[in-house]
């Protein structure tokens, strides 16, 4: 079970309050986790990744274990701590604005 932390806007959209947990079929990767997340919460389709290219939206970042995984390959394995459920996979909106 992978723990996922969503930003406030996406929590509201998905009607959840705390962390969400998703189960992935294969080896946990960004793609597998996001596929499982979107399957469980279809209202999130297109909000994290472009619906057609599958690319991360420009102002969305992925953190875990104090690492910025945003530019890692979506098919790279996630850190062991995330796979073991010790650490969450964090989706957040990048700081922007003024």
């Amino acid at each position: 079970m992978i723990r996922v932390v969503l930003p406030a806007h996406l929590k509201n959209l998905a009607h959840v309050t705390g962390e969400v947990r998703v189960e992935v079929a294969g080896p946990p990767t960004q793609r597998e986790v996001l596929d499982a997340l979107e399957a469980a919460y279809p209202m999130l389709l297109g909000t994290i990744r472009d619906r057609h290219s599958g690319k991360r939206r420009p102002f969305v970042r992925f953190y875990a274990c104090e690492l910025d995984l945003s530019n890692e390959s979506p098919d790279d394995p996630l850190p062991e701590e995330v796979v073991a459920g010790k650490e969450p996979f964090i989706v957040l909106g990048a700081m922007a604005g003024g």
């Binding site: 279809p42 389709l45 297109g46 909000t47 619906r51 939206r57 969305v60 990048a94």
Partner: protein, 371 residues
């Protein structure tokens, strides 16, 4: 007694303002979707409790929300807005070609007859259609693939399809307007399109009489005169009486003919409203006085409507989708400002009062009259 529901889209959420038919006392409900840009919030003429909202933001993209109970609860519906077939290219601001890239939905136009059928206008300019209550959207590709498409350029706000008029007399006739391509008409339900910009003269483009390239800000139509359209262009207020075949300027004695919205009185097809704005570089009212101008002659002769509106130190704008009329008698007129005020007149514009003063910047205003 009838009720009135005003649907307000803002830069930070949606608000629903309700009153009885007297339109004296108002209830303000919201924000819905707080923190999100609501470019447009509108209701189905066929089923008034069916509402649709275009929800978007720079971080998380485009969403569409649907309500079946007048805005008490909402369901996130389809947001797959794809360009069908070859994407193609249009001109960028600097004149170089650039592929069409979806950014947001500016305007939703529900069918008069079917609550599940809605047209959506996008940026970069495209027209979409759903017939299942916004679960799935398909592009009406002939518009974007019009032979003039590669020469379309964005206006300052983006290359947006912001106006959709569904002809009240002919179900196959649709009008759209795109900044800064111009106005287009389809007589076959979107299968083909005709640029209808003859008579528009735009000093901002090299060929002032070009077939396309005009920065049309808004179109308005009265249901009883489907071949008459009114237009607020970047500069100039225009009208056509032959379904867009020819336009003529009716700016007349306006203090400035730059502006964004235009609306037609619900019961008087020759009574129209605009909000003059100083210029394209000064997006606020002339002299700091917020004045709606009304013409009872279909243009040319205009009178300022000021009672109840700020007549000093007012530097807000009124955006293109932020003015609407109700169908009560007397006709109500409503508009929202970039300063977050929503004003209404319950007497056709003679007097005005704010319904609410401190919302986020208003992007759109629609009105429903409820039984």
């Amino acid at each position: 007694m009838s009720g009135v529901r005003v649907l307000v889209g803002t830069r930070k959420g949606a608000f629903i303002l309700t009153s009885d038919g007297k339109r004296d006392d108002w209830t303000v409900d919201g924000p819905h979707f707080g923190g999100w840009e609501i470019y447009h919030l509108t209701g189905s003429p066929a089923e008034p409790d069916r509402l649709y909202a275009s929800q978007s933001g720079g971080w998380f993209g485009q969403l569409i929300q649907r309500s079946d109970d007048g805005g008490r609860t909402w369901e996130t519906v389809g947001n797959d807005f794809a360009y069908s077939g070859e994407v193609g290219q249009h001109l960028w601001y600097d004149g170089t070609p650039r592929p069409w890239e979806f950014k947001r939905i500016w305007h939703l136009e529900p069918s008069r007859h079917d609550p599940d059928t809605v047209y959506a206008g996008g940026e970069d300019a495209a027209l979409y259609l759903t017939t299942d209550g916004a679960q799935k959207w398909s592009e009406l590709t002939a518009l974007r693939q019009h032979p003039t498409g590669p020469s379309w350029q964005p206006g300052a706000g983006g290359m947006c399809l912001h106006t959709i008029l569904l002809d009240p007399a002919d179900r196959d006739r649709i009008y759209v307007a795109i900044s800064a391509a111009g106005a287009f008409r389809s007589d076959d339900a979107g299968a083909s399109w005709l640029p209808i910009n003859k008579g528009l003269r735009s000093g901002e483009i090299p060929d002032t009489d070009s077939e396309v390239g005009h920065c049309v800000h808004r179109l308005a139509q009265h249901p009883s005169r489907p071949d008459t359209l009114f237009m607020q262009k970047h500069w100039d207020v225009m009208r056509t009486d032959d379904a867009g075949a020819n336009w003529r300027e009716v700016s007349g004695d306006l203090p400035t003919d730059f502006g964004f919205p235009i609306a037609v009185h619900a019961h008087e097809p020759e009574t129209i409203y605009v909000v003059p704005i100083t210029s394209d570089s000064l997006h606020y009212p002339p002299e700091g006085k917020l004045r709606v101008y009304r013409s009872r002659t279909g243009g040319e002769h205009w009178e300022p409507l000021t009672e109840g509106l700020p007549q000093s130190h007012c530097y807000v704008n009124v955006l293109r989708d932020a003015m609407a009329v109700d169908t009560l008698d007397p006709c109500g007129v409503y508009f929202g400002t970039t300063g977050g005020q929503v004003y209404h007149s319950a007497d056709g514009g003679d007097t005005w009062a704010p319904i609410v003063r401190d919302l986020p910047g208003v992007l759109s205003v629609e009105v429903q009259v409820l039984p």
